[in-house]
């Protein structure tokens, strides 16, 4: 089957507009996900640390964590939508 995929890849040949478009779709989402990926990691890391240090305020920390998470993930989701409408 890998053989068939290779054949398919070779059969196309050359750089086409469609090919570039597909590449752009992939790149748009991929690059839009870099920043939010780092950001979400930081949010959850800090929230876990805060919950471990002060378990009695875990409820509030969790709420605030999800607000931050939602704001950051908005960027990744805008990238996702952009990849579709491009």
């Amino acid at each position: 089957m890998t053989h068939e995929i290779l054949q398919l890849a070779q059969a196309g040949g050359g750089v086409t507009d469609d090919g570039l478009k597909s590449l752009a779709h992939g790149l748009v989402y991929g690059m839009a996900a870099i920043g939010p990926g780092i950001g979400i990691g930081l949010v959850f890391a800090s929230a876990i640390e805060a919950m471990a240090r002060q378990p009695e305020t875990a409820g509030e920390t969790r709420t605030t964590m999800f607000i931050g998470f939602a704001l950051i993930e908005a960027l990744a989701l805008i990238g996702f939508v952009l990849a579709f409408i491009l």
């Binding site: 002060q54 009695e56 409820g59 709420t63 607000i67 704001l71 989701l77 805008i78 996702f80």
Partner: protein, 284 residues
């Protein structure tokens, strides 16, 4: 078989009408599954609530625990002990509707979540959008709500030139958009991922059975592991959607900067024990 041709993404999410073709009540696989999910959800809770007892057993126990989770950990924790229970019904409906829709994604033989089509996340996001705006207008008055949302107190005057457009964009446009796209994107990605691995398995083990067969065993194990991951995503997405809905409602109920009010509510509930803990921590 060439995989690239077999996997036309449209056919993963689009079905031809099955029943009542040509009428406004046209049903295809997605709408039938939506009805099935809703029926399962309603049926489960009716069955759970049928036998009322002080110490519930079986389905009743599960239903009660799940409902109390939404009520205590989401509604009351986020919105506060006074207003939380009023919204617990809506939040629980949202949570369980999404949960039951999503779970269809990993039920063998169905393997499709209606939430991976835009219609359902869209309607739920619109409903949440209407509710948090209407609650804000009712609780704070139309002008007070707009003022509290667009001009959050506590910033220097010149900052509002920048802050107000950002707040407007983020509250009235980005919030409903991200609510629906988050759910849609997660369920869609999960569906495509599972389909790809099952197609690979089918290709290696059935269609092109040959020297590559051991690879098929690898892909089927990965597919099983991905179904476990999907289970996690299913629960997470239902929780996040409900949590954010609760937070948006809380912000409308208490005005901007809901955390201060949550603090106040907690203090009224008599949680003064934080202070000694903090001093102990510093002393240690």
């Amino acid at each position: 078989m060439v995989l690239a041709i077999e996997l036309d993404p449209i056919h993963l999410f689009n079905w031809d009408p099955l029943l009542f073709e040509g009428t406004p009540f046209e049903l295809n696989r997605v709408s039938i599954l939506t009805l099935l999910g809703a029926a399962l959800c309603i049926g489960f809770f009716l069955y759970g609530a049928a036998k009322k007892s002080l110490v519930p057993k079986g389905a009743g126990n599960i239903a009660e625990t799940m409902y109390m989770f939404v009520r205590e950990k989401i509604a009351i924790d986020v919105i506060g002990p006074k207003d939380g229970p009023k919204f617990a019904g809506y939040l629980a409906s949202v949570f369980f509707f999404i949960l039951f829709m999503n779970i269809l994604a990993i039920v063998p033989g169905i393997n499709f979540a209606p939430t991976s089509r835009m219609a359902i996340p869209f309607m739920m996001a619109i409903l949440t959008y209407l509710i948090f705006n209407i609650v804000g207008i009712v609780k704070q008055g139309p002008l007070g709500y707009l003022k509290g949302t667009l001009f959050p107190p506590g910033a220097p005057k010149w900052v509002y030139i920048l802050l107000t457009p950002i707040e407007f964009f983020s509250v009235f446009i980005v919030r409903p958009l991200t609510l629906m796209v988050r759910l849609l994107a997660n369920m869609m990605a999960g569906h495509v991922l599972l389909t790809i691995f099952f197609l690979f398995t089918h290709d290696f083990l059935v269609t092109n059975l040959g020297p590559a067969a051991p690879l098929g065993l690898v892909t089927i194990v990965v597919a099983a592991a991905l179904m476990m991951l999907e289970l996690l995503v299913i629960g997470m997405q239902a929780y996040i959607f409900t949590m954010l809905t609760a937070f948006y409602i809380a912000e409308s109920v208490h005005g901007h900067g809901a955390e201060d009010h949550i603090d106040a509510d907690h203090e009224h509930a008599g949680e003064h024990k934080e202070t000694p803990h903090v001093t102990e921590g510093i002393a240690a």
